[in-house]
Amino acid sequence: MLVGVILLSTGTVTTAAYPHFPGDAGTIGVPGMTAVDLSLSASGPGITVTRGVTERIDLSLTIGPDSLCSLSGRWKVIDYLGVLTTGVGVSHRGWSIAAGLFLGPVRFDWGRRFGSDPARFGILTFSRPGVSVGFGIYWNRAPNFYGGITLFHDMRYLSLFARGREVTVSTGGLL
């Protein structure tokens, strides 16, 4: 959940129907539109529904193995100042700040969450039409490898990603 909460404060805020790492949350920044993400991992199934409130703010409701029901919000503070985008997020785990450098086909996202469950992450993402591959590291109690691949078709996606030893499959899209 960490990576999704933080990442979704960043680059995809603008218009994206997809998070960078589906399985953690949904869309942001498309006012009046809703995204749904269904995920399955060894911990159990999860569902996240995200609603774009304005172009810079969205709200997500998640039901999953980590929490029975949690609400989170994200606000895009800096929108493509050159190649930099920055956002903050709030969830039951604490508040987060994250940034993304958009370098064409490659982007670098990083950030930190403060609060009862602190964490940090840094992830590189490479994209081609119809496919995106990302990998990086996040620290929660210990450093963990993060890697994932997402296949896109129109406004739908199918994603497989690993965080530490936990593998998650997710699918979803914009309604």
Partner: protein, 294 residues
């Protein structure tokens, strides 16, 4: 007397349809916001317009508003470049992959600011999403009705930030446009932000293209490539050259002569202080945010 009258009518008819004309096409590609080249390009465009004996069109084949490989051009210069393109009067430009790198909102802003259409026929928005660019346009060159179609390469596309766009095969997308619109045009020009080699493959699959102005690969095509009737060209990169293509179009609407040349453009010192201030702010913010990790 009647023969003279008929001949006169034919001349008037030909002149009325614009057939049998000389048309000059000025073209650039991959300018990448090199603002120091813009004054020189302006002067060259003005000179060529003054020297032309017929109508003059001005096109760009994309990657015009950004260059993330050079820090200052990753964060500054786009607004100035769009203003310049409006001032010199571009007729159309193709969308390049770098033009997408500012993100959808700013791209939409730039396109709205532009007085000319931004073209791309092979990125199709999904239903319900309005795209800031358009697949093709018609421009008038004297009496010639010119169909101008935009294409983009799939290399280095920032797909993740444009998930509402579906990438289509350029040849198929182009063929669909030509099937629908080519019969309304006297001349078909493709502005393809893709390499010359890719343009050759497309021209082999899609007959009916008269002029294919390419980009992306930064090739200076001293000698045009001919595939069937298609003339393929590219004008280097970074605004260092202005392409000048002079066409003679006969009474059947065929290009009978195509003469190409380039003008080399010298740099002109320009004020970049605001760009460096912006770069400093972004660099400082990025550094501060990176410190979050530690």
């Amino acid at each position: 007397m009647s023969r003279i009258f008929i001949s006169l009518l034919m001349v008037i008819a030909v002149a009325g349809t614009g057939l049998g004309e000389t048309v000059t096409i000025l073209y650039t590609n991959d300018v990448h916001t090199r603002v120091e080249q813009l004054p020189g390009l302006s002067a060259a465009i003005e000179d060529e317009r003054a020297a032309a004996s017929g109508p003059v069109l001005l096109f760009d084949s994309g990657d015009t508003w950004q260059d993330y490989r050079v820090p200052i051009y990753a964060v500054w210069g786009a607004e100035r470049t769009v203003e310049w393109m409006n001032t010199v009067g571009y007729d159309a430009m193709a969308l390049g992959n770098h033009d997408l790198y500012y993100g959808p909102d700013r791209l939409a802003h730039f396109v709205q600011t532009a007085d000319f259409p931004v073209l791309c026929a092979n990125l199709r928005p999904v239903a319900g999403v309005k795209s800031p660019f358009t697949p093709y346009t018609f421009v008038q060159a004297g009496g010639l009705h010119v169909l101008v179609v935009g294409l983009i390469t799939d290399e280095d596309l920032p797909y993740l930030d444009y998930p509402w766009l579906t990438y289509l095969d350029p040849a198929e997308a182009l063929a669909a446009v030509l099937d629908k619109e080519a019969n309304k045009a006297d001349l078909v020009v493709v502005l393809g932000h893709l390499p010359v080699a890719a343009a050759k493959r497309i021209a082999q699959r899609v007959p009916g293209i008269d002029i294919f102005l390419t980009g992306h690969s930064h090739e200076l095509m001293e000698t045009p490539v001919h595939v069937g009737k298609t003339v393929i060209l590219q004008a280097g990169a970074f605004g260092q050259h202005l392409g000048i293509l002079t066409l003679t179009v006969n009474s059947s609407g065929e290009v009978t002569k195509a003469a190409n040349s380039f003008r080399t453009i010298e740099k002109t010192p320009v004020e970049t202080d605001r760009g460096y201030i912006r770069l400093g702010i972004i660099g400082g913010l990025t550094l501060a945010l990176l410190l979050l990790l530690f």
